[in-house]
Symmetry: D2
Subunit: 325 residues, 4 copies
């Protein structure tokens, strides 16, 4: 039997930590070395991630094992950099950061991070030791725009996106109180969402002329998982040409698909996929895109990156049964 | 023009306080004297109860006005007694307590409380100055059982009830976190819910032989408003006789109705009604009952009690537009 | 006692018919003359509108009484015109059409209809006998844009709106199947929604130079009641000036309010209100607006129009208790 | 490479057909021979099961291939028997029926069916060619009661269970209309649910003295997936003894676990597990049990049975990533 990849999860008690754990537990090429959580050390992981009852006897630890091939950093924003500063992680250990500390090129402890969007940077990801996993909204919006940018067609974009409550994390907040959020919709961080910067960085990588005119209005949705985005922009290309452009761009990317009929959020919930659908009226193109914020928008993409970094088929361990309903 | 009832709300920033406020704002015979909240003093009530934006310019106060005819105590359990001990409320001011401090006969500061279930104690409520408003589950279960007790027919009862998240109040808790509660069901306080005592007290008031064998399993539901209960018990009476018994019992009670077809929760949401439906197989009777936990289960019933205590038609201010959907 | 307005509801078994009925049952100046439904003639209204059990003994009828002051047409699109062609309605009877047959100026049987958006046409509505009630999305979008148009400031607009399932009516459809719609989001009628025409008509009424460049993407939401819209547009005005403009425009309109903090959908559910909130970044203005699609977006606005047409305070019968949660 | 099991799905366009397909697509020992659906013949399976877009190019067929090792019958009640009467299925082909045609011992075309609850009949299932897969509520209730029956301790049982909308199937119905079902609860088939017969059959198999006194009230829940049941019964055993009894009974069953803290529905959604939790007050035991109605309650258990029938580890292809949220 082949030697397995030894993986450690830092911040294993949060949502992305738990989701990474769920994926790695069933990953055929991975052996979980440890799940780190200071506040839960010594307790079984299923005491926090209750769905794992009956799946594993793993417990959280507050010790860092050096016997590890890859670390998943599932920490709050700002904490990944601090973690790598305060702990010695030997340079041969690969690091995948699910936070936003390194997405814009910041370095730490001799590590330079590659932006981990496989549809943009797959060839590079295969060669590197440090990956900054993209943000959830950033993933959904970029995947809807990359082909346009690759063809130099991108002009000003107007995007509205809606996200499930898991995007807000585990902390109890007024806006994640069930009584408030059930059957409710509201906007937040209007035109100022922190993911706009990484989106613009990627778009300019493909189309240097892009002015960065991305107007993004995020909404809070009354569901737990998923992101749905509709982006409007002007273009002279025909819908037929645009569909060809998009399908060609994603042709050999196994998780991103261009649909021929309207998509809906639940098509991708509990999968690592992104679905895209194009519509055109007059000279206005609308691109709809949908992902699961915790999978293609976080832990699923992190495991996809790990697969690439270790030379595995990028789908390994990610062919998940959709919830569907 | 007739003189209006001057009402004060103590604990006006919580759910039952807000709901009482919503009702009193539109009540034709009431003038709100003050809405008390220490932590929100000076801010508009709509800063907390956001739906009231555009409805009223009232602000919270931390002062108690003596110019008041009735006080609604909308406080946490245990705090009503404390409030009446620590503050001087002249004896002519009527008090309606929405907490559970006085439901089992406790007295304070010379005040003796009547259990405020109009379908049980209406004649008395009309005469008294102090009413202990029933609990929400207690209301739904009792209204499903009172006619049986009145006929001396009650034996051991098995009740399962499900409640909306507003029943858990405003405080952020793990079990009211949207991410946890959405699409979820769980049980709590199995066979030990605190409302069982007041239910048994009422049932014994009507049927002194009742042994108090009420087995109640409460569930947390993934909705915000409402309670639905199914109670099973043995009886030799025919379904026809039972329907006659129930309909006669509630004949002149304007908010409690016995339906001829299956009921559902949303029939009563945002109303002060209780709906009841009876089914029988073999010698087993099943009584389904449904209320809005914040109205018939709390603030609506409190206003109904106020109406009775002040000699008004008990429906005044309570003919609400149902949400229906 | 004053003579009451005698009202008839045509199409009383549908959602807007039922909602109109709920409002009129509690309206102090209205007496319901009849509720018309061919398919339900003879059955109690609560057999269809189950929440009305215990509220009324009214039954549906298939006969049209001439003893009526106002008719509410709550019919499918195209059926209102047909109804007025096939039935003799004396010209003194006022007609309020909740469908889309007359919103763009169509006439029938000697009747010319006024577009019934009080915030736009209140003075005229007070004088006329025939009102075409606006569409639900049309109401939410227009109320977010009217002040801009009134100041001649409107340029190209990008709107995304989300609607509850009641907007799709009573008919069972794949997109209103619970199993599909729960926790789901999707888009429909992208850039081609039928309400765009009536919105443009209103905007041009205030700003004749407006080119009609309204790009509207409607989404299906996983809730039953409400519409939330975010509209983006370019403007050089300061946020302060814009807030003053909006507040002045709606100053004497009792149901439309400009908020000073972010709004959310549930602030308006089960009310006749529209809430608006403005944000600005750079030269981009975002206007958020929220209504209850069945009230301000349909039956509530119809009753508001009736109040105006009969010289009543427009709020009469419309000061509803919000569901809040 | 080992030879794969060739599987055919009959009724592949319904919910249990689709869920079986989702499982078999990822099952390492199975090759899908065909997915039968008369009404969808020729169209891709993802045209019906939209989440499968990008997962498979399979199309529905109306032809039955004989080159098959096992047939999953995912048909409406009564249709499985008809299918086996009208089509020649050679006797060496194993049949797993997900409907209720054969759960009570009915035979057809020389085939005698074993009741496919592995926790009850695993040894037999391993030997047979024909399995009748249990009902969803039946699975959840039985797994909560089997240990009691195995010890001869079962007395009269009072069960309330709540089910997601997928339990009602794909057909558009009033009770699966989103507008009705969202945030709603109601009861149906009170004390008369069809699953009671198969539950009693199993309980008597273990405890012949059991009188069949199972009082079951099913509720419709406002979620799509899952079943939660609370069953009350009298017993003299201590809670400690009962926990030992239950844990011993399920010790070597990989999907059924006895929890040490309160369970909730979402712990099992999108898994093949059943979780159980015991509580006791006085002489009353309450057993809570939870399953995913489409997995342990249908397709997951069907695949578990297939695994047993073909000598595989029963967990093969069933270690699914839970949705968790």
């Amino acid at each position: 039997m082949e030697k397995k990849i030894k993986a450690g999860i830092i911040g294993g008690a949060g949502y992305t930590g738990g989701e990474t754990l769920r994926l790695l537990l069933n990953h055929p090429a991975v052996q979980i070395s440890f799940v780190h959580s200071r506040s839960n050390a010594g307790t079984p992981v299923y005491a926090v991630h209750a769905d794992l009852l009956g799946e594993t006897q793993l417990t959280f630890t507050d010790a860092l094992s050096a016997d590890v091939d890859v670390l998943f950093l599932c920490l709050g924003h700002g904490e990944s950099k601090k973690f790598l500063q305060e702990n010695i992680v030997v340079s041969t250990v690969k690091v995948i950061d699910l936070g936003n500390d390194f997405r814009l090129g910041d370095k730490v402890a001799g590590r330079t991070f590659t932006y981990g969007l496989p549809e943009l940077n797959r060839a590079v990801i295969r060669q590197v030791n440090n990956v900054a996993n993209p943000g959830c909204f950033a993933t959904a919006i970029q995947l809807g725009l990359l082909p346009m940018a690759s063809a130099g067609l991108l002009k000003e974009v107007y995007s509205t996106g809606i996200t499930g409550s898991t995007g807000a994390g585990q902390k109890l907040q007024d806006t994640t109180h069930f009584t408030w959020r059930a059957n409710n919709i509201s906007a937040y961080k209007t035109l100022t969402h922190q993911h706009v910067a990484e989106i613009n960085q990627s778009l300019k990588q493909l189309q240097s002329s892009f002015s960065g005119a991305l107007n993004f209005v995020p909404w809070r949705g009354d569901f737990t998982r998923g992101i749905f985005v509709s982006s409007i922009m002007e273009t002279q290309q025909s819908l037929n040409d645009l569909n060809q452009l998009y399908k060609a761009f994603y042709q050999d990317h196994p998780f991103t698909h261009v649909a021929d009929t309207m998509i809906d959020l639940k098509q991708v919930v509990n999968t690592s996929k992104c679905l895209i659908y194009l519509e055109k009226e007059g000279n206005k193109l609308v691109v709809h895109s949908a992902i699961d914020n915790l999978l293609k928008g976080a832990s699923g993409q992190a495991v996809q990156n790990m697969n690439l970094m270790f030379g595995l088929d990028e789908r390994t361990g990610l062919q998940l049964k959709s919830t569907a309903f």
